[in-house]
């Protein structure tokens, strides 16, 4: 029996060198992604590649404001990922609402609903700032400070309570069932 905790520093070193990202381009931050990934800022030199599937990513980028409707998708995408996973939130909107501070349809504190490891302030942060945030996250991963996924497990009751307060109880099932009547009717039309 090997005590894998001994190897944890080695694993963390390896993890920080190969972050796969899913960027959830909710707001204006989606525009900052292409220069970040292409030759000008080229985050691939840090071992980061964009990843099409939520089942394999390590780093989850939330780029911009989050509405309750997208929050549902964010929570589902976050929970899909395997375990060492980190979240990086861009801009002031996930931080405290930003310019949508009095909007009925933008959530004010993202870290009430899912744990966020690094926030980047700014509206909108430049790609340099995002690089800086990723660099910070890498340091935190190596030190073991980036423990959002552990916090989510430990305080799951609290996160769950906040989510259900905002989105209503049983929102997962409701969301899945919402479109069924419309899909059924559509099918009938096709048959006839």
């Amino acid at each position: 029996m090997v005590d894998w905790r001994l190897f944890e520093p080695l694993f963390n070193w390896a993890r920080k060198k190969s972050l796969w990202i899913v960027s959830f381009c909710t707001g204006c931050g989606g525009i900052e992604m292409p220069p970040l990934m292409t030759s000008r800022y080229d985050i691939e030199r840090f071992g980061i590649i964009p990843d099409p599937s939520p089942r394999q990513y390590d780093l989850f980028l939330i780029t911009g404001y989050v509405t309750p409707k997208t929050l549902k998708r964010i929570i589902i995408t976050y929970e899909m990922a395997p375990d060492p996973k980190w979240v990086l939130a861009h801009g002031s909107c996930p931080l405290n609402g930003g310019i949508y501070w009095d909007s009925y349809n933008a959530i004010k504190h993202l870290d009430k609903y899912i744990p966020v490891d690094v926030f980047i302030a700014g509206c909108m942060p430049r790609p340099e700032a995002v690089l800086d945030g990723i660099h910070k996250l890498m340091e935190m991963i190596e030190n073991g400070e980036a423990d959002g996924w552990k916090r989510y497990k430990e305080n799951y009751e609290w996160y769950r309570k906040n989510q259900e307060e905002l989105l209503g109880e049983g929102w997962r099932e409701k969301e899945a069932r919402k479109w069924i009547p419309w899909l059924m009717d559509k099918k009938k039309e096709v048959k006839e």
């Binding site: 609402g97 009095d102 909007s103 009925y104 349809n105 479109w179």
Partner: protein, 174 residues
């Protein structure tokens, strides 16, 4: 300075539709005012006069007058001319009803659902009116883009934060 092509266009449209008012606002902008119940006739005439493209249906809320103004934006591609067809309907929820123009301009389906979601105008004949659109369940039926929607109160209630919304503060610290 007048724009002769536009003047002629407006003239020939108004000959067919004497119930409407119309004018040339400036070069390549036309403006029409139509009673709400004749909007379908009028848009048919507009289509005959080479306005094949619907850009948008927007709504403007006028709470003091108790009316909602609907603006149908049409485009004539050959002349590059943008026509705004304006119509007014009462603002009360049970009376805010319009005939749909979905069969004339298929693009109108989306815009009608949009106006229905945010302003509570019901378009009769558009069978997708009840289908979920942009707004999520909690906001449905509140019509948040109407002027009398209490935005700040709703935000306070929904997100449960909020010393920073204190109205007595001289300066907001966000």
């Amino acid at each position: 300075m007048t724009w002769e092509v536009g003047e002629n266009l407006v003239k020939s449209i108004l000959e067919k539709a004497p119930y409407a008012e119309g004018k040339v606002r400036r070069e390549r902008r036309l403006e029409f005012k139509v009673p709400a119940e004749r909007i379908r006739e009028f848009l048919m005439i507009m289509k005959e006069h080479n306005f094949p493209l619907m850009l948008q249906i927007t709504a403007v809320d006028w709470p003091k007058e108790g009316e909602i103004e609907l603006v149908y934006h049409l485009m004539n591609i050959e002349l590059g001319t943008h026509a705004m067809v304006k119509t007014r309907i009462p603002r009360d929820l049970d009376k805010a009803k319009m005939p749909t123009v979905r069969d004339l301009y298929p693009a109108a389906e989306t815009y009608e659902r949009d106006v229905h979601d945010f302003f509570g105008v019901y378009f009769e004949g558009n069978e997708k009116m009840e289908m979920p659109w942009i707004l999520d369940d909690p906001e449905q039926g509140l019509y948040p883009h109407r002027k009398d929607f209490d935005m700040l109160g709703y935000v306070k209630k929904k997100y449960k934060i909020l010393d920073r919304f204190d109205e007595n503060k001289d300066r907001y610290v966000i």
